[in-house]
């Protein structure tokens, strides 16, 4: 006799654990109905609740003089002075992008932009750190092309310039590309919408405006974000949505007009977990409850069920908290921008969400139980041993010039022009430095001030030593900001990892957070927010642990920005910082030795701090003509890029007690190549000596060739061609 299989209980089908069901019972003092279960399922998903990561994120430093809003809100905010605040945050949209790269990436842009708008800020810049599998696979090319077109398609259409980003390639990202998007906005500091500045009272209305609500993205949060791809399979597919950037543009303008007119008591975007999240967070933040009328929600499709309306992740919607006296003015502003509004809820004392449909209550739960009272886990961790075989000690007898060419053609190193030419980098008219610079610089409208931005992550380092991966990501992004002459102020981050239920992944995560935290403390750049993307794995293999960090800095006068390339001939070339025999985890080891092994370069955070302080001081004193940091491919690639970007060659001598290939291509941290005019050399040397930063005069700029004495001698034009054309060639277009 064969027993019929026992159906899985509903809560488990929705991704809730048995002990989580017990918690729900405790909160509402009875058993939940299906609608309530769906609400808890989306709100307590990893994606919305951060239940596995919270205990670790809490250890990050979050305080600093410039911080106006730290983690815990839609986005962090820093003070730029003169009454202007910069709001910024990064988010991932990797899972949808893996199955529909264009729309997945496009809706990722839409989501993070709404986060910035919901703080009352005008979005002024986007940056997009991306990771894909190698381009020799057709699927990876399809993903790259689709993701880039999607980011451009959306960002270009809403008029927010994409000013920077990152693209890296590694086999572990084949099944799961990593798609992160950072958005920055500016707002008058006294108009930011924060939990403390805006406190609605009972009787205020929740007004939904923007697009209608459809069945798309139902369960997107729990299915897409909490289950790995192969489990989700076909079932997760319809969860991808179609982005409507035109609707988003209208939403941005209408929202900013509402904020500017002082008509709002609160503003919330609808993202993960849709209306449930927006309503419960708004109510919980106000310390109130709400009566929610689902019949008032404008629907795109007839006969949607309560749980569908509550969890739909239809794009391009916002929720405003409005006092009844302002409702008609809100309606008029929205109408001007062609947007309909609907009063979907009223704030009530008591803390309960009373969700009604067709006159009856369909769900009744405490708002706080969905948000702050979500479970938190201290998950098991187990250290992962990485391949310790250090490539630093492998002999290399290849040609050094050929090795440089191979590195310049390596997709991690090669020019990303193919990508960033698909992005409007100049709309809004404030882009002082766009993609292709170490850090992007965006002018604060009407001032001389510049905001410098860089995003960095190095999965190779993360896979070999997640602590160093986290620390290097902060140091490198901050260094990129510093070489442009700016002062790093604060960071945001996106932590891309595998399945947190696996102790190895959880350990990698904790280590990366620890490394990030240490670096942030040492460099004086607190964390203002971020995002965690778990479950980036398929068939049991995860992506490389990839903490991606975005650093925001300021430049008092954007005209003092330093370029990366050598701006002319006859300049002295200096190396600031010290080189060690460190080839572990390097691009050279991966590209030429075929190995990702050893230990990533050491990072002395005090040394890094001194270097960055020196750079800011030297830039402010106008001592430098250019500055470019050494990263992938070491000093040889750094010098070559200086020549390619500036259009001027160089002749230098490198000295060091190590094999030539280690000297040329080792990736020791905290190093920067600068060009200095001869009459400023003395001042630079003096300043570096006082600040305790080691320096060496390598040679001069000039001529059509890149010459490293006794090691490399190549025409800059040839190196330029290799570097510029590598990605088009891999895509079969050049």
């Amino acid at each position: 006799m064969s027993a019929a299989p026992v159906p899985e209980p509903l809560h488990r089908q929705l991704g809730l654990r048995d002990d989580e069901l017990d918690l729900i019972r405790e909160s509402i003092e009875r058993g939940p109905n299906a609608t309530e279960l769906a609400m808890y399922a989306v709100m307590w998903s990893e994606h919305c609740s951060y239940k596995s990561s919270k205990v670790h994120l809490r250890t990050l430093p979050t305080e600093g003089d410039a911080i106006i809003v730290g983690p815990g809100q839609d986005a962090g905010a820093v003070d730029l002075g003169d009454g202007v605040a910069a709001v910024f945050k990064m988010e991932s949209h990797s899972h949808p992008s893996a199955i529909e790269p264009y729309q997945g990436a496009a809706t990722g842009v839409g989501g993070i932009v709404r986060d910035i708008v919901s703080m009352g800020a005008r979005p002024v810049a986007l940056l997009d750190p991306l990771m894909f599998g190698p381009l020799d696979q057709e699927r990876n090319r399809w993903l790259l092309e689709g993701v880039v077109a999607g980011i451009g398609g959306y960002g270009n259409c809403i008029g927010v310039p994409t000013v920077g980003g990152e693209v890296r390639f590694a086999d572990p990202h084949s099944a799961n590309p990593t798609v992160n998007v950072l958005c920055v906005g500016f707002a008058p500091a006294d108009r930011l919408i924060t939990a403390t500045t805006h406190r609605p009272g009972a009787g205020s209305l929740m007004v939904l405006y923007g697009a209608t609500t459809g069945r798309d993205g139902i369960g997107g949060v729990s299915v897409l974000a909490s289950a790995s791809l192969d489990e989700g399979g076909g079932g997760s597919r319809p969860s991808v949505q179609i982005g409507d950037p035109f609707a988003e543009k209208l939403l941005i303008e209408a929202s900013l007009e509402l904020v500017g007119a002082g008509l709002l008591e609160g503003l919330q975007d609808l993202g993960g977990a849709g209306l449930t999240c927006a309503v419960s967070e708004s109510a919980a933040r106000a310390g109130l409850g709400a009566v929610v009328e689902l019949d008032e929600v404008p629907l795109r499709e007839p006969e949607m069920e309560a749980f569908e309306i509550l969890t739909s992740e239809s794009q391009e919607r916002m929720l405003a908290i409005v006092s009844p006296a302002n409702l008609e003015r809100v309606r008029a502003v929205c109408a001007k921008w062609g947007l309909g509004i609907a009063v979907v809820a009223t704030l009530e004392p008591g803390g309960e969400l009373d969700v009604r449909k067709a006159g009856a209550t369909v769900a009744r739960v405490p708002a706080l139980s969905l948000t702050e009272k979500a479970p938190e886990y201290q998950r098991a961790m187990r250290p992962v041993a990485s391949d310790q075989d250090d490539p630093t000690f492998v002999t290399f007898d290849g040609d050094l010039g050929d090795a440089l060419v191979s590195l310049l053609a390596a997709p991690n190193v090669a020019s990303k022009r193919w990508v960033f030419e698909q992005y409007d980098r100049m709309v809004q008219g404030q882009t002082v430095a766009g993609p292709g610079s170490d850090a992007a610089v965006v002018r604060v409208p009407g001032t001389m001030k510049g905001v410098a931005l860089s995003v960095d992550g190095n999965g190779r380092y993360g896979s070999l030593d997640p602590y160093l991966g986290g620390a290097h990501a902060v140091a490198e992004a901050a260094r990129n900001v510093a070489v442009s002459g700016a002062t790093p102020l604060a960071i945001t981050n996106c932590l891309n990892f595998g399945n947190p239920e696996r102790p190895e992944v959880m350990w990698q995560f904790a280590e990366a957070v620890r490394g990030m935290g240490d670096a942030c403390l040492a460099l004086g750049t607190p964390v203002t927010g971020g995002n965690v993307s778990f479950y980036n794995e398929a068939e049991g293999s995860s992506i490389w642990p990839t903490p991606v960090v975005g650093v925001l800095g300021t430049l008092a006068d954007h005209r003092l920005r330093l370029p990366s390339g050598f701006p002319g001939p006859g300049l002295a070339v200096y190396l600031l910082g010290e080189s060690f025999a460190e080839l572990g985890g390097s691009e050279f080891a991966e590209t030429l030795l075929g190995t990702v092994s050893g230990t990533p370069p050491a990072l002395d955070l005090q040394v890094e701090r001194r270097l960055q302080d020196l750079l800011q001081e030297a830039a402010a004193g106008d001592l430098l003509a250019s500055a470019h940091d050494c990263s992938d491919g070491g000093i040889a690639v750094c010098l070559a890029e200086c020549a390619i970007l500036g259009g001027h060659g160089f002749a230098v001598t490198l000295a060091g007690d190590m094999p030539a290939h280690v000297l040329l291509f080792g990736e020791s941290a905290s190093r920067v190549v600068v060009a200095v005019s001869p009459e400023r050399e003395g001042s630079l040397r003096g300043l570096a000596a006082t600040r305790g930063v080691p320096f060496a005069r390598l040679g001069e700029t000039g001529g059509p060739r890149a010459v490293i004495d006794g090691m490399i001698d190549a025409p800059v034009a040839e190196l330029t061609d290799v570097w510029e054309q590598a990605i088009p060639r891999l895509l079969g277009e050049a």
Binding site: A149, G152, G153, N156, C157, I158, G159, D244, P245, F246, A247, K249, L250, W337, G338, F420, E421, Q422, Y423, D424, R425, M426, V427, Q428, G429, Q430, T431, V432, R443, H558, R559
Partner: protein, 234 residues
Amino acid sequence: MSARIGVVTFPGSLDDRDAVRAVELMGGEGVPLWHGEADLRGVDGVILPGGFSYGDYLRCGAIARFAPLMEEVVGFARRGGPVLGICNGFQILCESGLLPGALIRNRSLRFVCRVVHVRVETTQSPITADVVPGEVLEVPIKHGEGQFVAAEDELDRLETEGRVVFRYCGPDGEIGDAYNPNGSQRGIAGIGNEGGNVVGLMPHPEHAVDPDVGPTGGQALFASLLSQVLAGVP
């Protein structure tokens, strides 16, 4: 007295504020105009700015051309008033029949944002009247649908009537496929109407006036527009 140049904002316009800023940087007065109000506010010239009006859904410019203000713009143009369409504005002018031809997807099928060179082909336009023909200007482009197409006889007519205003070129003014960023027929980057008072171009001169954030090839074009308007020349 400074020239008053109206800049129309359609839903989805993006470079409208940039065009106003460029006008003002060059000494004119930028007057924001709203698509839904059939009122030109007595401006001396009109700019239809870049962007994605109505998302560029269906076809670029297809929906914007029905805006209430567009009737006024068409009348203004017919009376000889200077009208400049930049990028999406160019597309709107073609859709509304003020300029011939159409702009279809770039040959590469991809959006392209880069600084290009264009050669000034005629002084018979309000934005090139004060520029030397043959002059090469550095201006950015940023569009996905900028491939100019028209019937052969239409193209011939544009050429013989001297209505090709700009052509994509190399740094020294040389014309060739290598310098054509989108596959436009005959390398055409901008054209004028029969009266010479309506011009459309894909490049963005408004992003080429402030040396802190880009090239400066647009300065001469805005200077020309403003002086023409002040001189009362259509």
